[in-house]
């Protein structure tokens, strides 16, 4: 029974390994990836996971075996060794080579996600302001002002949109804890905080950025899958209305027999709603991943990727109309 301890540790290690191995089958794993660059992040993750698993299993097997084999046999004296130059060289050189390999392998992915010079021209810009304990989003009515075709205009456009992020416009649309974008859009975010450190995390996009007091930090992504559509109905009858979208001016209009009217002006008698699949897996979360105070756990939001640009602008212009409410009828529209 002197070998009891090696069995005990062996069993615990095996159980740990099996729990970890079984976790994905119970849904404890990375959420679905929906971003263009998420695959690269996942590949790196799996490569590193494979490496660490291999060495974890190897060292633990050696450890348990050594405990079993060299357990106190009574009366025998232990032999101590000092320094083995070759061995030390080997266990320094192998990890160093592996780390260097990882460092080189990740450059491409990091560059694509985090290098400001590589961020594409935005189709959509959003300002994200963190505070204890919520995310306050702000959307410009006009996204064209920050768009550019020519790389020469990049710096100027960047500055302009950053100034907008720091100085709100009169007609910006405000939303709390809700990030709205559309499928295949290049989204640019400006991340700020009003108080302490937070970490703006979009697990489905494999994207994460700490907020630093006093800093306005850019982020970008492009979502390849959508999870919602904005549908507008007559408030009185519940019938869906037909919307027309001008892809040049981005104006969404309600089509009626008598003509067209901007959606923004019709919120009092129309009801706009986000339609989702209702599937739990399609609830894409925004999380704070920096312990930021007593309600840190509640600092969550929702990522809505609209099916297309038209749905997004319908939501945006409807929300703008609701935000301009001057009558009781308009005041019941989407808060």
């Amino acid at each position: 029974m002197q070998k009891g301890w090696s069995i005990f540790f062996g069993v615990i290690l095996l159980a740990t390994f099996l729990i970890w191995f079984a976790a994905p089958f119970f849904g404890w794993w990375l959420p679905e990836n929906i971003s263009t660059f998420g695959g690269g992040v996942d590949n790196l993750f799996y490569a590193i996971l494979g490496l660490t698993t291999f060495f974890f299993v190897l060292t633990e097997v050696v450890l348990v075996y050594a405990m079993w084999k060299f357990v106190d046999r009574g009366g025998e004296k232990s032999v101590y060794t000092h320094g083995n130059h070759t061995l030390e060289l080997v266990w320094t050189a192998i990890p160093a080579a592996l780390l260097l390999g990882i460092a080189i392998a990740q450059i491409g992915v990091w560059e694509k996600i985090k290098y400001q010079s590589r961020m594409p021209a935005p189709d959509l810009t959003v300002s994200v302001l963190a505070r204890q304990w919520e995310w306050r989003m702000r959307y410009p009515l006009d996204n064209q002002q920050f768009h550019y075709e020519d790389e020469d205009q990049k710096a100027a456009s960047n500055l302009k949109s950053r100034l907008w992020a720091e100085n709100p416009n009169f007609d910006d649309v405000h939303a709390i804890n809700e990030l709205h974008v559309w499928k295949n859009a290049n989204v640019k975010l400006w991340i700020r905080t009003l108080d302490v450190l937070h970490s703006f995390t979009l697990p489905n996009l494999r994207l994460k950025q700490d907020t630093l007091p006093g800093k306005t930090i850019p982020m970008w992504f492009n979502a390849e899958k959508s999870n919602c559509e904005f549908v507008v109905r007559e408030r009185s009858t519940g019938k869906p209305v037909t919307l027309a979208f001008n892809s040049k001016t981005k104006l969404v209009e309600v089509v009626t027999p008598s003509g067209r009217e901007p959606l923004e002006a019709r919120v009092a008698d129309l009801k706009g709603e986000l339609e989702t699949s209702g599937n739990k897996a399609d609830n894409w979360e925004i999380a704070c991943q920096e312990l930021c105070g007593s309600r840190h756990y509640a600092m969550r939001g929702r990522l809505y990727v609209h099916a297309d640009e038209k749905s997004y602008y319908a939501w945006l212009q409807y929300s703008r109309g609701a935000q301009k409410a001057t009558s009781l009828e308009a005041a019941v529209s989407m808060r």
């Binding site: 009169f170 709390i176 804890n177 007593s294």
Partner: protein, 445 residues
């Protein structure tokens, strides 16, 4: 050999124990312990008249009650009652009556429980309580309030739609109490006193519901004398949060959970206000109560329930049609200019919002804490940023913090709203107004 076997089995026992503790920790019920009672009010009971401005510094964080006591000692409040000075016997009677009416955090209610649901041995007492409550109802509730009105107040639509629920009122309140414990209690406290563990540390301090007054209403005091909010007003505050304070938005919670929370807040506020009021009367005008404290408490509870139900039945203050829906930029500028003149003139906004709020002085609010007129050059609006929200703030005022209600002509109201909305954005202001509000360095304002 034997010794090692014991060590092994001992460590296995320890490991098993840890697993048990770990699993027990994963209980995800949010319910309050059944034995927990609402705490008796111990902080000062105040009546303040918020008219005087002070050039003071805010007290250091974490010193809420110390600061109130200090101001009370300086005689800054009209009425100060220390619950310590109330006769112990009266106090015990009040506590008992409150528990009969409002239950416990785990089993909240707003009226005595049905005798059939009371524990064995307490049924007779419950029957008496209910009889007393019902005998006082017609006289104290008001003819205009029906049972349905009260049900609306303390029931969420989801529970109401489930026919199998025996008692939708207490079901809603019990669910509300679980949600409250999870989301609100750490700031607003078990009794809704704004004195939860984190409450004293945030500025402005979390709302203390126990006076039955709230700030952001869609009605006016002229329409609802009690100054109670509509249930919808509370729901909107929950949904949107209060920008510029520590109150976050709970808009991602489903609608019925917001309703449950609002109902539970109404329950806490009712309980708190009955306690507040009875303590006031006990300390200052005990004759009013006579020899039946319990009856007095029941009467007050019914009266305040009626006030809440009346307010929630009310349609929000309906503004006159907005005259500028299709205004040209020039017309809009003219409206903003007129609004500016009202702001500095007739409407007397500048009196409190000094330098457009940049230099506002502090004053004491209804709860004895320091507040100041909002800095309107910033872009956050606590009660909402929509024009109609600002219209409601101006027309109804914010009575608990001293912002008066304003009766202006229809067009004047909208001119003022337009100006207030444009105020934080220099680019939106006509040139002459811009120079007044945002003078360039060296220019005098």
């Amino acid at each position: 050999m034997h010794r090692q076997a014991t060590t092994l089995s001992r460590s296995l026992v320890v490991a098993a124990g840890l697993v048990v503790i770990f699993l027990a920790g994963c209980d995800d019920s949010n319910r309050y312990p059944a034995a927990l009672r609402y705490p008796e009010r111990a902080d000062l009971v105040l009546k303040t008249e918020n008219t005087t401005d002070y050039r003071v510094a805010l007290p250091p964080p974490g010193k809420l009650d110390e600061a109130i006591r200090e101001a009370a000692d300086k005689k800054l409040f009209q009425v100060v009652v220390d619950p310590k000075d109330i006769d112990r016997k009266d106090r015990a009677e009040l506590t008992k009556a409150l528990e009969e009416l409002f239950g416990t955090p785990a089993a909240p209610s707003i009226a005595p429980i049905e005798p059939t649901r009371a524990p064995r041995g307490k049924r007779e007492e419950a029957e008496e309580n209910l009889k007393l409550y019902e005998s006082l109802l017609s006289e104290n509730l008001g003819e205009d309030i029906s049972d349905d009105d009260i049900t609306y107040l303390v029931t969420d639509s989801d529970t109401l739609n489930k026919l199998t629920v025996v008692d939708p009122r207490s079901t809603t309140l019990a669910k509300g109490s679980e949600l409250y414990r999870r989301h609100c209690m750490h700031c607003h406290g078990v009794a809704g006193d704004g004195r939860g563990p984190t409450g004293a540390w945030v500025d402005p301090h979390p709302r203390d519901y126990r006076q039955g007054v709230f700030k952001f209403l869609s009605t006016t005091k002229a329409a609802i004398a009690s100054g109670k909010p509509r249930k919808e007003d509370l729901i909107r505050t929950l949904e949107k949060g209060i920008d510029g304070t520590s109150m976050p938005a709970f808009g991602l919670l489903p609608r019925h959970e917001l309703e449950q929370l609002a109902s539970y807040v109404i329950h806490l506020s009712l309980r708190g206000e009955v306690e507040y009021d009875t303590l006031m009367v006990l300390a200052r005008d005990k004759n009013q109560i006579g020899d039946d404290l319990k009856k007095f408490v029941y009467q007050r509870a019914i009266q305040y329930t009626g006030q809440w139900a009346r307010a929630s039945k009310m349609e929000p203050n309906r503004p006159a049609a907005y005259p500028y829906s299709s205004a040209t930029p020039e017309e809009m500028h003219e409206s903003i200019s007129r609004g500016y003149k009202l702001f500095i003139g007739k409407a007397e906004c500048l009196k409190c919002h000094m330098d457009y709020g940049r230099q506002s002085a502090y004053r004491y609010d209804a709860w004895g804490t320091l507040v100041r007129a909002r800095n309107l050059t910033e872009t956050n609006y606590r009660g909402g940023r929509r024009p109609i929200d600002i219209y409601w703030r101006i027309s109804g005022g914010i009575p608990p913090s001293g912002m008066p209600a304003h009766a202006l002509a229809d067009q004047e109201m909208w001119d003022l709203v337009n100006f207030v909305q444009a105020l934080p954005y220099p680019g939106m202001l006509p040139d002459d107004v811009k120079h007044k509000v945002y003078p360039s360095p060296g220019e005098k304002h």
